[in-house]
């Protein structure tokens, strides 16, 4: 392995991280927006957001990416590769995330809502001061899983010739022919990023839980993945990794 190859990898890694951060930001916005819409009072809002979730959960992220990159220009919007990738990842993982948000909001005790109404909070205050502070800590472990899924999803962008880590690996392979070594290194790099992400999310989870006076369960291993068997609805599945 030469210095030039390492430089190629780190450039790729940088693009991968950018792609992940942008997609995660979009996915978070979509997740909260759609997740809140799923708990709306108006049936039409619930219905439309439900259609969104089922559609984007139902199709393949890679096909969506290809569609945005190749088909959308024919309808009049040309997207730069990295934005097609970001949009596809953000929209599809946002749909998975919205189920997490919905599940967490619905897991807050109904009495909390009633108490807030009794204190004549406005709906906005109810959400901001009562619901979200209690729901957000619940969302952290499944969000961690989704973030790792999203990181893995960024590799799909290599098929659009975006120069992220996997694409750079392909270039390196074509120039040196050392497939095993190159792909081995790339896998380890992805694994390292996933590990760091998990650590960061654990810290965030601990803080969120501390702010509502709860402790984090100990002994969760290196990566948090839990799949409660008792309630395997869609929201519970999101905690098991891929929904």
């Amino acid at each position: 392995m030469t210095g030039a190859l390492w430089q190629l990898f780190f450039e790729g890694l940088w693009i991968t991280i950018q792609l992940m951060v942008y997609s995660a930001a979009l996915a978070a916005a979509v997740a909260f927006g759609i997740g809140l819409a799923r708990t709306s009072r108006f049936w039409i809002v619930r219905f439309l957001s439900g259609v969104y979730v089922e559609f984007f959960r139902g199709t393949s992220a890679l096909v969506l990416m290809f569609w945005l990159f190749f088909a959308l220009p024919l309808l009049g919007w040309q997207l730069v590769g990295i934005w097609a990738g970001t949009l596809a990842l953000g929209l599809s993982y946002g749909a998975y995330g919205s189920e997490v948000v919905r599940g967490a909001l619905q897991s807050v005790a109904p009495a909390q809502q009633e108490a807030a109404i009794a204190l004549s909070f406005t709906p906005w205050q109810r959400l901001r001061k009562v619901l979200l502070p209690q729901a957000v800590p619940e969302m952290m472990p499944p969000f961690n899983n989704l973030l790792i899924e999203l990181l893995k999803g960024t590799a799909l962008a290599s098929l659009l010739s975006i120069g992220e880590l996997t694409f750079q690996a392909k270039l390196a392979r074509l120039s040196t022919g050392e497939s095993a070594q190159i792909y081995g290194i790339i896998l380890v790099l992805y694994f390292a990023v996933a590990f760091v992400l998990t650590r960061i999310m654990r810290v965030l989870e601990r803080r969120a839980k501390a702010s509502v006076g709860r402790a984090v369960p100990k002994g969760e291993g290196w990566f948090s993945r839990k799949l409660p068997v008792e309630k395997q609805g869609p929201e519970a599945l999101a905690t098991g990794g891929k929904p």
């Binding site: 959960r57 096909v63 590799a155 497939s179 095993a180 891929k242």
Partner: protein, 205 residues
């Protein structure tokens, strides 16, 4: 359209075989992780976490380019099935683990009290009870795998996405083939997930 349907057949084949591989391997990991020996649990858990936290696409490339160098030359579809099965086995193992944990501890104790050998305990007591709980969750991963089959186009498997791309390359129509493929995925996976939810209500009470 006939080409896309041909691709759909390949996609479905990859999903079915990949699922079978993942069901079998996942069970191996799950049982291995319950072993009493650290020499078994450590390597398996490191391997499983490694596979689960790295991209499937890169794993597919690894298998596709590296296996022939080790003297294992498979067809692209076989390579894809191995890759899908291996990747998803790390998820199904989690499903089995949860299912096994859901079996009341009294069952283990009863098996010990009857002095059943460990293997009989697994096959006659634990797994049959865990089975009912895991079926719907396994089904969800089959759907997830189905939606990941387009990745096989990256290793020259002639699945739906591959077919759509080759149609586009000859006709310069990029809109229609890929739209059809995207919609086909929804049309197949959504009803399946509805069926699964119904099945879940019947199986897991």
């Amino acid at each position: 359209m006939p080409e896309i349907l041909k691709g759909l057949w390949i996609t479905i084949q990859a999903t079915i075989y990949g699922s079978l591989v993942s069901f079998a391997l996942g069970l191996v990991w799950a049982v291995a992780l319950r072993s009493r020996s650290r020499w078994v649990t450590w390597p398996v858990s490191i391997f499983v976490e490694f596979i689960r936290n790295t991209p499937l696409l890169v794993q597919l490339f690894f298998l596709f380019f590296v296996l022939p160098g080790w003297g294992l030359a498979f067809s692209p579809l076989t390579t894809g099935v191995i890759g899908l099965g291996l990747h998803y086995s790390t998820y199904t193992s989690e499903v089995y683990r949860a299912g096994i944990d859901g079996v009341p501890p009294g069952q283990w104790e009863a098996a010990t009290a009857l002095s059943l050998p460990r293997r009989r305990t697994w096959t006659a007591v634990i797994l049959p009870q865990a089975f009912r709980r895991v079926v719907p969750a396994l089904g969800n991963y089959v759907i997830a795998m189905f939606k990941d089959t387009p990745l096989l186009a990256g290793i020259t498997v002639a699945d739906m996405l591959f077919q759509a791309n080759s149609i586009s390359a000859t006709t310069f129509d990029y809109l229609e083939p890929i739209t059809i493929v995207g919609i086909l995925f929804v049309v197949i996976s959504y009803p399946t997930s509805l069926l699964l939810r119904a099945l879940e209500r019947r199986l897991v009470r």
